[in-house]
Amino acid sequence: MIDQQDQDVYDELSPAFAGVRLDRDVSNVIRRGRTLRRRWKTMPALAAAGVLAFSLSLAAVTTPSHSPTRGVLVNVDEAGFSVHTDAQTGTVTVALRQLFDEAQLKAILAEAGVHTVFHTAASSRASFMPPCTWTGVHQSDANDVVGPPHVVDNEAVLTIYPSKMPAGSVLGFSLYTLTGSNGKVNGMMVTPTLLSGEPTGCVIQPSPRTNASSSAT
């Protein structure tokens, strides 16, 4: 039995939300549902192939590297980004600005001992956009390899620990430049993923109300 005072509380809550309505068209939801269904069907086969490839790459590792650095020491400052290796710890600090040349960054990171692949896309800040899904490889969480990004003086700063990357692995970055309602770029969504090798691509599964243009480097 509901107390009258409790009922008063409930009566206050429900009308407060009366104007909240979901206006999205069912056809968009169904389209997204079909995409998900297709992806779920293909996922087990890709995962099995990826696990095998990742196991083989791990088997190739005979002795872990104790050297603080895996590549050469890099200290580069470009207009769009900077990369610095800490000689003591071997960590690589990357600062990204709004526009940068991914191919150039990729080459410099490779010199620093970090093999990377980038997938970039533009997205509205108001949209719910999941990171792209790398194909042809096994992918795992990169939390041990890349620290959480943070913003310093309008730069996205990432710390990478190359010594924690298994031999042959590649660091995949799914990058979304985020635009506000005025169309101006005002942020970036960075999702690093540890990959067992070079991926064949990265696939975006758009949310029901979102489209994105993208490119892979």
Binding site: D6, L13, F17, I30, G187, S207, P208
Partner: protein, 170 residues
């Protein structure tokens, strides 16, 4: 309203369900997560997942509760991804939301002040009108825990909204 899950085109069946349940589900998710734009995205995504597994979901005893639960689970993974977002400009982007009717600020503040699990119980019990058993099954907790959460949440909401009740009684 059609009877779900039997003798109908699955797409029409789902569309009927979507049209009938979408607003209630959105309200429940909004109440639980406190962000309108995010709640819309999570709810739409959960409905898309419901469509993707409609054969199973259509036979669920409370498919709208399944949608809300899925949306709330997606919320957790969204927050994990959110850690990776970096913004150059912290100014909130509100231009696209100007036409939305404002929610009662006192009600919203009272809901936001509740612990997450209490908000979820309130969302399911009040906005979806689920009974205690179904709420418990949906959240994966014991019925007694649902009762306890609802009792605490109601007490907290009553205290938080007391000034509003007094204003209204004048």
């Amino acid at each position: 309203m059609r009877e779900r899950g039997v003798d109908h085109n699955p797409e029409e069946d789902f569309a009927d369900f979507y049209r009938g349940a979408r607003d209630g589900c959105l309200r429940a998710v909004y109440a639980a997560c406190g962000d309108r734009a995010l709640a819309e995205d999570l709810t739409a995504e959960a409905f898309a997942r419901a469509y993707a597994t409609w054969r199973k979901v259509s036979r669920h005893p409370a498919p709208h509760a399944w949608v809300v639960r899925t949306a709330l689970n997606t919320h957790v993974s969204w927050w994990r991804r959110r850690r990776r977002e970096v913004a150059w400009d912290a100014a909130p982007d509100t231009a696209g939301r100007a036409a939305e009717p404002p929610l009662d600020a006192q009600v919203m503040a009272a809901l936001r002040a509740l612990p997450r699990r209490q908000r979820e119980v309130v969302a399911l019990r009040i906005f979806l009108d689920l009974d205690t058993e179904t709420t418990a099954r949906t959240l994966g907790i014991a019925p007694g825990t649902v009762t306890a959460h609802l009792s605490r949440a109601t007490a907290a909401l009553r205290d938080a909204l007391a000034p509003k009740f007094e204003q209204e009684s004048v």
